[in-house]
Structures are given as C-alpha cells and as structure tokens.
C-alpha cells in the first residue's frame, strides 16, 4: 500500500478538551494500525467556518475519511478504538 493512502481530516471548533482528546486518540490509533500510510489534517472551524459546509459538518469533533473512498464520518472523541477501526473500515 502506498504512503498516505488514508487521508483523514479532523474537524474541531477551538482547542476544547474533547477536540484535543479526539486528536490524541486518533493519532494513537493511526500509529498503531496505519503507520506510515496516513495523513491527518486538523480544521478548526472557529478559524475557517466556511469549511463546515463542504463536508457537511454538524457535530464536533468529526473525523472525515476523505481517502480511500467511500467517504466516512466518525463523530465524537474517538475514545472507543473498536468503533473507530470499524468506522475507518480497518476491521469489520
């Protein structure tokens, strides 16, 4: 598999505890399961509110798997690793 096959975007609104936790959880899971094959970008909607419309963001935090298709969304602080893996289609 190519590098950065997983293109992930984490939408947050300011540095809230939930957002920080979501980022930390995501980082940990990716390092564990997708090492070297992922990229994470963080979008802070307080800075760029217009980006919320494009990915149809309603809940915060929302993790969007842009690649590979299909588009997937996981909302919440990503504390349940099992669910995150299911959401990213890494396990069934």
């Amino acid at each position: 598999m190519k590098k950065t096959a997983y293109k992930l975007v984490l939408y947050v609104a300011g540095s809230t505890p939930k957002s920080l936790e979501a980022f930390a959880n995501l980082k940990r899971i990716c390092e564990e399961h997708l090492k070297g094959q992922y990229s994470i970008s963080v979008v802070d909607l307080l800075v760029t509110p217009k980006l919320a419309k494009g990915d149809q963001i309603v809940a915060i935090p929302t993790l969007v798997r842009k690649l590979p298709p299909p588009l997937k969304k996981i909302i919440g602080d990503l504390s349940n690793k099992q669910k995150v893996l299911v959401g990213l289609n890494l396990i069934d």
Binding site: Y11, A13, Q56, A59, I74, G76, N80, K83
Partner: protein, 484 residues
C-alpha cells in the same frame, strides 16, 4: 396600514414584533412574530410549514429590510429555488443580493459512526457564519427534527437544542423552527419544549371533498392573539391567512346615505336610501326579483359615477346584462365605462376560502364603492354551512372595514320560510329586505317588507312591488293601507 399598526402597538405595548409580511398573519398575531425569539410552526406533511417559513424570510428581506438565513435539513438549495419560483419568489436573486442565505444540512446516518462525546458546534458555526455573512435578522430551521434521525444520542441532542435556542435568542434573531406533527405531542420530538414563546399549528384537512387549510396560534407568550382556527390559502402569491380583518367590530360608521336606486324604496327609508358602508340583505324565493334589485342598485351607483363590483354566481355577465336590459337597466355602458365589473363564476368552482381571496383580490384591484353578491346563498355549496356562515361574516367584516356598501341577495328556498334566511346571516346584516310572491286569485303578486334597518326610521308596512320595463317600482297594497 399605518393606522392598523398603531392599533397593534396600542394593543401590545411591551412586546416587540417582527412583521411577517404574510397576508393576514400579522393581523391575527397583532403585529407579527415575537422579535428576537424563536417561533415553532408545526403541522402534518404538506401543511405549508416550509412555505410559511420561507415566505417569512423573503418578505422580511424585501419588505422589512431584514435579511434571513434558511437552514434546510430536508430540501437541497436547488430544489428550494425551483419550488419557490412557482410561487413568485426569486430566491436566487435574493441570495445574490445578500438578502438570503440558504444552507443545506445533510445528515446521513449510514455514513456516520459515533464514538464518545460530541456536540453540535458545527451546526452553530455554520449558522453563525451564514448569519454574519449577510447580517441576518431572521433565521429558519426547517426542520431541525432531522437531527433526531441523524444522531443516536438523544440526550446530547436535547442539550444541544436547548443551547441552540438560547444561542438564537442571544443573537437576537427572529427565528422560525418547523416541526412535524407528532402522535401525542405537537411535534414528533417535542420541540415545543424548547420554543416557549410562540407556537403556530397548521392543519390541512378535507371536508366533504373540499380541502381546507387551517392555522391556529396555540400560544403566544406576552401577546394577545386570536384563539380561533383561521383558514389560510396557498395561492399564487404565497400564503394568505384569512380573515384579513379584525377580531373586533371596529369599522368606522358612516351616516351618509346611498340611494337604493328605487325611488319608492328610498322613500321607505325616510327618503334617503341605505347607509353608506352598511350591509343590505335582500332575501326571497325563486323568481322574486332579487337580481333585479341588485342590478338596479348597481345601475344607480354607477350613474352617480362610483364603482360597483358585482359577483354573479348564477348568471354569466352577458346573460345578466341581457336580462336586465329587459327591465330597462342597461348595465353594458357601465361595464364599458369601467364603472361596473361583473365577476361571474360558479360557487362550486372552488372552496370558500378561495372565494374570499378572489373577492379580496378583486376589491383591492377595483376599489369599488359597492359590492353586490348575487346570491350569497350559493356559497354554502362551496363548504359546510357553519363554515359558510363564518366565511360570510369575514367577507362582510372585511368589506365594511373598507367602507364598502354591500348588497347581498339570499335565496330563500321556501317562500314561506318566514323570518329566517337560507344561511342565517340576518344578524350580520344592517338592513334586511324580504321579498316574496304570494298568490292572489290566479296571479302571483310580489310583496316587499323591510324586516329591519339598523339605525334608521323605516316603513314597516308590507308593500307590493312590480318589475316594470323601467325597473322596479314599489306601491302600496290597498288592504294594508286600510289596516294602517
């Protein structure tokens, strides 16, 4: 308009309101929706929630210079634009002119996995962004209940909704939230719990094959409002809520008189005819000459250079003109001069509300001094008797408030029905003339009596009357004169 607005302000000194601009809604809410607060509009599918909400924004943008944000959870921007184009709202242009912002929020449960805590800050950000982008004063959320099918954690949702409504209030925007009718609650998910200020319920039902729409203000904190169900229509200019008028009898009375067009009848009213701006009912059985009565009145008014709007529910314009020519009343010339307008259609053409709106539109357009409705009875064919009565009350109220003199004819099926009219509207009328025919030997003779005429002296004796080739003429009945 300015006058009525002043009246509303008097009625409600404390609560600032936001004019909806929707015909009739501002009247029944005494000035519009609560300014800077959310209002809940609920009802079943197809009841007109989205339309009402969107019209509120469009009219706000165009008439009150208050830009608005429409957050759609069900319809895409493009669908909204094409749906509303058919009602004459050019959403595209409003968007371009920064009077309107539409944000379509799409939530697809199957795409979303939930893990751990979250909030709906994204929604707040989007809404805030849209509001700031055009300086919006009004917001519509249609329908926010879609969130409940998109997210599984109801406790988070409810907390966030509460926060949302507080946030909207803090923003100072006048908001409409729509909600689907629920089984036991007003809305499926109990939105009424969050919107405490104003709740309006819309209903769409079919009675004897005639569909009617109803609007009811369930509550309006801090303001008076009508508690009745009020019919409304979705017409080509959007929503019209009826009645256009008053909850009170506030028409300004006029003591000027207007001739009935029949000299001998004027004489019965102390030589001067009817009061201007009053309502006159002419009732009688078939073939009594009711239409002639109306036509002669119309002719006389036109002769005086004033306008008459004539609603004919039984005859076409040319038939009416021909028939009246036979008794020496030439209506054609008034039509040609633009003083007389005859609106002829079958009463069953459409529902009562539609008739009321048609009448209203015609009056606004033509500005008549007199309106004839011939016969008013046939309108019962377009709805239930109770509704017909309520509707007639609205028609009469509306015309009276406009200072228009009304002459309505009423077909009394049984000539002997006595002092009742086909649809019991006598109490709504100021003057009631009953005409009848009665057999005398081998002939039928026409009789006329003024049953009542509020506020003026009138002859109470029964008279005879004839239809001659020069119009109607009233004469004494020899026997009656003797009795007197």
């Amino acid at each position: 308009m300015a006058k009525t607005k002043a009246a509303w302000n008097r009625a409600d000194p404390g609560l600032p309101k936001s004019l909806s601009g929707i015909q009739g809604l501002d009247e029944i809410t005494l000035g519009g929706l609560p300014k800077g607060r959310p209002t809940l509009i609920c009802g079943g599918p197809g009841c007109g929630k989205t339309l009402l909400a969107m019209e509120f924004l469009c009219r706000g943008a165009l008439e009150s210079d208050e830009p608005g944000v429409f957050m759609a959870f069900e319809e895409k921007e493009q669908d909204l634009i094409s749906n509303f184009a058919s009602l004459g709202f050019d959403l595209k242009s409003l968007v371009r002119r920064k009077k309107l912002a539409i944000d379509y929020v799409h939530i697809e449960r199957s795409e979303i996995e939930e893990t751990g805590g979250y909030d709906l800050e994204g929604l707040f950000v989007r809404l805030g962004c849209a509001i700031d982008s055009i300086g919006a004063k009004r917001v519509v959320l249609d329908t926010i209940e879609a969130l409940f099918s998109g997210f599984s954690d109801e406790s988070i949702l409810r907390a966030e909704l509460r926060r949302l409504f507080r946030w909207l209030k803090d923003k100072g925007v006048t908001a409409i939230v729509t909600g689907e009718k629920g089984e036991t609650l007003l809305t499926k998910y109990g939105l009424e719990e969050y919107v405490a200020d104003c709740v309006i319920f819309l209903d769409h039902r079919v009675n004897e094959q005639i569909a009617t729409r109803r609007l009811k203000i369930i509550k309006y904190r801090g303001s008076g409002h009508t508690t009745n169900e009020v019919p409304f229509l979705i017409g080509k200019r959007g929503i019209s809520v009826l009645p256009m008028t008053s909850m009170c009898l506030s028409s300004v009375v006029n003591s000027k008189r207007i001739s009935s067009g029949i000299k001998s009848l004027d004489a019965m009213f102390g030589d001067t005819g009817y009061f201007r701006g009053s309502s006159i009912l002419v009732s009688g059985g078939a073939g009594c000459g009711k239409t002639s009565f109306g036509a002669q009145f119309a002719d006389s008014v036109c002769r005086g250079g004033e306008r008459v709007l004539y609603f004919a529910f039984e005859e076409s314009q040319s038939q009416l003109a021909r028939n009246m020519r036979s008794i020496g009343i030439g209506l054609d010339r008034w039509i040609d001069k633009g003083l007389l307008k005859i609106v002829a259609n079958r009463a069953t053409l459409c529902g009562l509300e539609m008739h009321l709106v048609m009448l209203h539109d015609a009056v606004e357009e033509f500005h008549p001094a007199v309106v004839c409705i011939d016969p008013i009875t046939t309108l019962t064919g377009a709805g239930l008797a109770d509704e017909a009565k309520a509707m007639l009350a609205r028609i009469l109220d509306y015309l009276k408030n406009e200072g228009i003199t009304i002459l309505a004819t009423d077909l009394n099926q049984a000539a002997t029905a006595g002092d009742s009219t086909g649809i019991c509207i006598s109490s709504l009328c100021d003057t009631w003339i009953r005409i009848s025919t009665e057999p005398q030997g081998h002939q039928r003779r026409r009789r006329l009596v003024i049953i009542k005429s509020r506020g003026m002296k009138h002859v109470q004796q029964e008279k005879g009357f004839e239809i001659t080739d020069k119009g109607l003429r009233i004469n004494d009945i020899p026997e009656a004169s003797k009795e007197a």
